[in-house]
């Protein structure tokens, strides 16, 4: 199903749409307060953008430097071309250690690779330990947002879920009570787990270490209690130097949730005494995306989610309507690169207002890329028939002043004289849920001729 159809389903519940819209706008507002409290905000964004540009232009060397330094730290480094290879590497490590229970901390990359399903097929019990991720795991659905995975759910729904799965009191939906119940439930999982796996926010070439940012402390609970730790890292997470963390840690949480910094910014460089540490570098389409000149900027993304919180389409259609793992504006420019035919509608899930580009902490030209993808979608013949023929007809009319004058007049008369059912029907999507404007009696050209007596323009 296309984004527009799923969005139509989402907005059918008007009160819930308003609630979703406001919840995200609240986060966007907190982001504004945090950004405005830093006088040098704009120069930080520019600096972050330049660091990422530089890193992408020298990525192969930095990856080699990262690997060499990590190995010198006693860390095992693996390379995975795609999701399947990543999953196999994880399984090989777990099998060697006879791991039956794995705790995971939030990682969009492992979602991308389909790790949970794969490991469960091998008989490993996988527990997502971020509260939002655990909620959606128990509901057996994908995240609807990259930072706020359960933002689409109401507390009553979480209360009912926890009553069923964690045996909390029936009908109780106080977030404090539910969080406390999850704390107890997850502590037992942390204690029982033989291995922990996390995503990575930043890999540092200079030191060969990884940085993981969380608010709940779940990543640290998992990693430090299990003797085996695995970090799955997309190639684009690399930054050159320790000093660069100063720039990115200042931008990440302020952009994402409006916090001055995440509660825990954890730096992992060497395994714990008697423990083992692995880093898996995952490509899965990233090296190919690097070759798309107009779109490679998307690889600068630090996954803060600010573009989702600000997007008028995302806020009113929900993350699940995009049908891809990473929804919203950033997902709409990354997904067509992975599968154009499947995701050809996503570049159109935008008003091109540009708010996403304005809030992006690494200055990705998101709305311009959306526009460029639309052109590629059209060139590749992936436009749906209505858009395809509609655009062809519009092009034909706009190319000729005589046809433009004729159809302009016809439209003015039609809007004025035709009965409602002929204007407001399923063929005219512009008439859905909105009144069309009252047509002016005459065109500007007619008015000019009459009032200025000039030549026909």
């Amino acid at each position: 199903m296309q984004h527009a159809q799923k969005a139509a389903h989402f907005i059918a519940d008007e009160a819930r749409t308003d609630w979703h819209d406001e919840a995200l706008w609240f986060v966007r507002h907190k982001r504004d307060l945090a950004a405005n409290s830093i006088p040098e905000w704009e120069s930080l964004r520019e600096c972050a953008s330049q660091i990422k540009d530089h890193t992408l232009s020298n990525l192969a060397n930095y990856l080699e430097q990262f690997e060499a330094n990590a190995r010198a730290n006693g860390v095992h480094v693996h390379w995975a071309a795609d999701g399947a290879e990543h999953n196999q590497i994880v399984w090989d490590i777990l099998r060697r250690h006879q791991v039956k229970r794995l705790v995971k901390s939030k990682s969009m990359l492992t979602e991308e690779c389909g790790l949970n399903d794969f490991l469960e097929q091998q008989g490993v019990e996988v527990t997502d330990t971020d509260l939002g991720e655990r909620i959606i795991q128990l509901r057996d659905e994908p995240p609807s947002h990259i930072v706020l995975p359960a933002i689409h759910l109401k507390k009553e729904e979480v209360g009912a879920l926890f009553h069923e799965k964690l045996h909390t009191e029936k009908g109780v939906s106080d977030p404090k009570y539910l969080t406390e119940a999850a704390r107890g439930h997850l502590r037992a999982r942390f204690i029982a787990a033989e291995a922990a796996l996390t995503g990575v926010n930043f890999g540092i070439a200079e030191t060969g270490g990884v940085v993981v940012c969380t608010n709940e402390g779940n990543a640290d609970m998992g990693i430090h209690l299990a003797s085996l730790q695995i970090h799955s890292m997309g190639l684009e997470k690399l930054i050159p130097r320790q000093a660069d963390l100063g720039v990115f840690t200042r931008l990440l949480a302020r952009s994402g949730t409006g916090q001055p910094v995440t509660v825990y910014t954890s730096h992992h460089h060497r395994p714990k005494p008697g423990g083992e540490m692995h880093i898996i570098l995952v490509d899965n389409g990233r090296s190919a995306h690097l070759g798309r000149k107009d779109f490679r900027n998307g690889l600068k993304c630090i996954r803060c989610g600010a573009c989702m919180n600000t997007c008028p389409i995302y806020r009113r259609s929900g993350g699940h309507s995009y049908g891809v793992l990473i929804p919203g504006p950033i997902g709409s420019i990354l997904s067509p690169g992975f599968d154009l035919a499947k995701n050809s509608d996503l570049p159109f899930a935008s008003t091109l207002c540009g708010s996403c580009s304005d809030v992006c902490p690494v200055k990705i030209d998101i709305h311009q890329q959306l526009y460029k993808w639309r052109q590629i979608v059209a060139q590749e013949g992936e436009l749906p028939p209505v858009k395809k023929w509609g655009m062809a007809a519009a092009g034909n009319i706009l190319a000729s002043s005589r046809r433009y004058t004729f159809f302009g007049k016809a439209a003015r008369i039609a809007l004025d004289k035709l009965p409602r059912f002929l204007v407001y029907n399923s063929l005219n999507t512009w008439g859905k849920r909105r009144e069309l404007p009252q047509a002016p009696r005459e065109s500007f050209s007619e008015w000019y001729q009459k009032n200025k007596g000039g030549k026909r323009v």
């Binding site: 969080t179 204690i191 730096h267």
Partner: protein
């Protein structure tokens, strides 16, 4: 191993060289870093105490932590109840009510403190304890994250973390709840 093919694809596709900017430096004349730090610790949900306001180490426990029985400390000035010699495995720390560790550095702009494994007894201590007390020299506060990263070496120890306030979540309807998986409270003791 896909290493060679991945690197070859990247070398084929990466754009021409772009310059790496110098790490930025922002001068903040007239900023009272201590006052700013204390304000930000409160903003992120933590508390601040001054050692000079405590009559003795005992006052700390009797007045501020009267109910906490199991106390694991790595600060000789504030000895706890947990015998480190008896801790064979990190899981043995699961019942700790209060952890006391010292931090090397505080950051004024966000109330974060830099804690390394060298100060924790075990890496998991600041996360598994129900409550966390951080002991910090008030002269070791820097204005921002840029100066913080200039002042430390992140790979000096195998593990180190900036910790800003107690564990928290807003995953249920954006309602802020303190005490998600980690410490339920965080207090910075300045001396």
């Amino acid at each position: 191993m896909s290493k060679e093919s991945i690197l070859a694809a990247i070398r084929r596709n990466q754009p021409e060289a772009r310059p790496l900017p110098d790490p930025p430096v922002f001068n903040r004349p007239g900023v009272d870093v201590l006052a700013h730090f204390c304000q930000m610790v409160h903003t992120v949900g933590g508390n601040v105490l001054y050692a000079r306001d405590l009559e003795s180490a005992d006052t700390l426990f009797t007045h501020y932590y009267p109910l906490e029985k199991s106390i694991a400390s790595t600060c000789p000035d504030y000895p706890g109840t947990v015998d480190w010699a008896a801790i064979a495995h990190p899981l043995d720390l699961e019942t700790v009510d209060l952890a006391i560790v010292s931090a090397r550095l505080g950051v004024a702009e966000n109330g974060a403190v830099w804690v390394t494994e060298a100060d924790c007894g075990h890496r998991v201590l600041p996360f598994i304890a129900q409550h966390l007390l951080i002991v910090l020299d008030m002269h070791q506060i820097v204005p921002d994250m840029h100066t913080a990263y200039q002042s430390i070496r992140i790979d000096e120890t195998g593990f180190g973390a900036f910790i800003a306030g107690p564990s928290k979540t807003a995953d249920i309807e954006q309602a802020l709840v303190i005490g998600a998986q980690g410490a339920r409270s965080l207090t910075v003791l300045l001396r």
